[in-house]
């Protein structure tokens, strides 16, 4: 250590290389190439989520249970990630839960501002038995409605009891969007 300290007059990195450009300098570069990939994908939902989406159409949330360790996965997987055995047993779970976390988005996927902010979060579903520790739980990522930005900022929303607000049956398509959002249970009523 002592030997390093004696020659500590240097300062690294010395003269880091490269040239940063301003936005307008970039546009003026000769030979600038613009390329837009034309790709389109059709994703199969697979075994477990295929059943999950079918059941959403019926207004039900389901999970899958591992026959070896007993974990209940929501959303369901077709295998247990700890035992890697097939989890063939599908179980219906309540469509109620508590809010684990929630945020207010002012921007879209593409980064543009939204005209009306959207509240989204994680709902910890009322399913005992996902795991024996508190770290893991059955839950979904979704929108929250009937909740104000003030509820999010004050922290009132954390731990709030909520229930899935379903689309009318004729409008359901077997999509996570068959649930419109999660809204507070009446006991927690909107102010």
């Amino acid at each position: 250590m002592g030997s390093f300290q004696t020659k500590s007059k240097v300062s690294k990195p010395q003269n880091p290389g490269g040239h940063g450009l301003k936005e307008n300098e970039l546009w003026q570069l000769s030979g600038l190439i613009e390329y837009r990939p034309r790709a389109k994908y059709d994703f199969s939902a697979g075994q477990a989520l295929g059943i999950f989406l079918e059941k959403l159409k019926e207004g039900k949330i389901v999970g899958s249970r591992c026959p070896r360790c007993g974990r209940i996965y929501v959303p369901p997987r077709s295998y247990c990630e700890y035992c890697l055995v097939p989890t063939i047993e599908i179980v219906e779970v309540p469509d109620t839960g508590t809010v684990h976390t929630a945020v207010i988005s002012y921007i879209r996927t593409t980064r543009e501002r939204m005209e009306k902010p959207e509240i989204v979060g994680i709902i910890r579903l009322d399913v005992p038995g996902y795991s024996t520790n508190e770290y893991e739980f059955a839950g979904l990522f979704h929108r929250l409605c009937g909740v104000t930005p003030e509820d999010v900022i004050s922290g009132n929303v954390i731990g709030m009891k909520v229930r899935a607000k379903w689309k009318p049956p004729e409008k359901r398509k077997g999509s996570i969007l068959d649930i419109e959002c999660f809204e507070p249970l009446p006991a927690y009523g909107n102010p």
């Binding site: 250590m1 030997s3 390093f4 020659k7 500590s8 240097v10 300062s11 690294k12 990195p13 010395q14 003269n15 880091p16 290389g17 490269g18 040239h19 940063g20 450009l21 301003k22 936005e23 300098e25 970039l26 570069l29 994703f43 939902a45 697979g46 989520l49 996965y73 929501v74 990630e81 684990h100 976390t101 945020v103 207010i104 988005s105 002012y106 921007i107 879209r108 996927t109 593409t110 980064r111 543009e112 989204v120 979060g121 994680i122 996902y130 770290y135 893991e136 739980f137 839950g139 979904l140 990522f141 979704h142 929108r143 999010v152 900022i153 922290g155 954390i158 999509s175 996570i176 969007l177």
Partner: protein, 392 residues
């Protein structure tokens, strides 16, 4: 007590190189890699023909807009006709590259290894955030049209709720790191700002404001690793890799407690066990935790067992992690200050520990004497912890 693998060779870092980190670099990804490699070789006193093997890292191909990005970068990274491998664990890549370089030498397969990380985020339009749309699950998540920042905001909100931290408490990290970066020659987002500036910057996804986040960056970083025999022959300015750890959690982030990164703790324990570190909060002199967002540095200081759970924000605001504090954290200026070219950012942090431990950090040199340091990176859907312990 050190618990080690069957390591054939003790491994040293003997040189490091960095490009500028900027929003838009003129240079191509290959050219950026070459600039970083040239510096690292110069520092180590080696030429390319002295290099046995190359490990390189770059994050999602979609940023550079090149598939096979590893193979594309290979010649710029000095890998032509050499054994080369690309490692990839999202944002965790930047420290995974040094870890992989370590195992190449430790296994006895290579005496000298170039570790090179590169990222060019700026080409993606309309904004690199849009390219991140491809990391979300297509069935359950993309229909909700998420922005990448949502997941960070959800994690930060949960940390605030569970640990009692306010936005202002967390903003301190951004203030500290941007200030530290004023002394970093590569820095893109160095600034003297206050917590009010952070709180008054544009709210993107509450609780995340623009100045809570590191910038969009291009850049490259490189390190030279060598076996003990070569290291002792070549240079006095070397540090030893004492421990490495890497852990991957699952992608089901909505099924997990977001207030604490258990995968970082597991990776840290793996590295500490190897290094014989028993009390990290006492034995680690300087730390470079991954800070793409200000709260993430706090999260990671806790996962690294340097701060007790839910206490990092409190210690930070007491100056504990300042450059002249008890355990200086991100003395480089971090991703918030130096910039965040994804894979290159974690390697920049590893380079900073090397420079700190060899007293070559100039104005960034921390005040206390340093003998042991840790660099850490994080990545993907709240999943990856990569940790390297280095010592003199």
């Amino acid at each position: 007590m050190k618990v080690n693998l069957q390591v054939k060779d003790r491994v040293a870092v003997i040189g490091a190189g960095l490009t500028l980190f900027r929003r838009r670099m003129l240079e191509t990804p290959k050219e950026l890699s070459a600039l970083a490699v040239q510096q690292a070789l110069d520092e180590a006193g080696l030429t390319l023909k002295d290099i046995d093997c190359v490990v390189l890292g770059t994050a999602p191909d979609a940023f550079d807009g090149m598939h096979f990005n590893g193979e594309y970068l290979a010649d710029g990274a000095g890998a032509t006709n050499k054994p080369m491998v690309r490692v990839y664990v999202g944002g965790g890549t930047g420290v995974m590259v040094p870890i992989a370089a370590w195992w190449h030498v430790a296994s006895g397969h290579c005496d000298t290894v170039l570790a090179v990380s590169e990222e060019k985020m700026s080409p993606a339009r309309p904004h690199p955030q849009y390219v991140f749309a491809y990391i979300w699950d297509p069935i359950l998540e993309r229909p909700l049209q998420p922005n990448l920042i949502w997941i960070f905001a959800m994690e930060m909100r949960r940390y605030m709720a569970k640990c009692g931290a306010s936005k202002r408490d967390i903003a301190y990290v951004s203030v500290k790191n941007k200030k530290n970066a004023l002394d970093h020659p590569s820095a893109q987002a160095a600034a003297n700002i206050t917590a009010d500036d952070v709180l008054n910057s544009e709210t993107l996804v509450w609780p995340v404001n623009r100045l809570d986040i590191s910038p969009v960056s291009d850049g490259a970083a490189a390190l030279v690793f060598a076996s003990e025999k070569i290291a002792r022959r070549m240079t006095d300015t070397r540090v030893w890799v004492e421990g490495t750890g890497w852990i991957l959690d699952n992608t089901h982030w909505y099924n997990r407690e977001l207030a604490y990164p258990r995968y970082v703790e597991q990776a840290a324990r793996m590295a500490y066990r190897m290094a014989g570190v028993e009390k990290p909060s006492k034995e680690i002199d300087v730390v470079e935790p991954y800070d793409p967002f200000d709260y993430k540095e706090l999260h990671h200081l806790e996962g690294l067992l340097i701060a007790p759970k839910c206490q990092a924000w409190r210690l930070a605001n007491e100056g504990y992690f300042d450059r002249d504090g008890e355990v200086p954290s991100s003395p480089s200026g971090g991703l918030l200050g130096v910039g965040n070219p994804i894979a290159a950012a974690g390697t920049m942090k590893t380079a900073e520990i090397y420079w700190q431990l060899t007293y070559q950090a100039g104005a960034r040199q921390v005040k206390k004497p340093v003998e042991k340091g840790v660099a850490q990176a994080w990545g993907d859907l709240m999943q990856v912890g990569t940790v390297i312990v280095m010592g003199v």
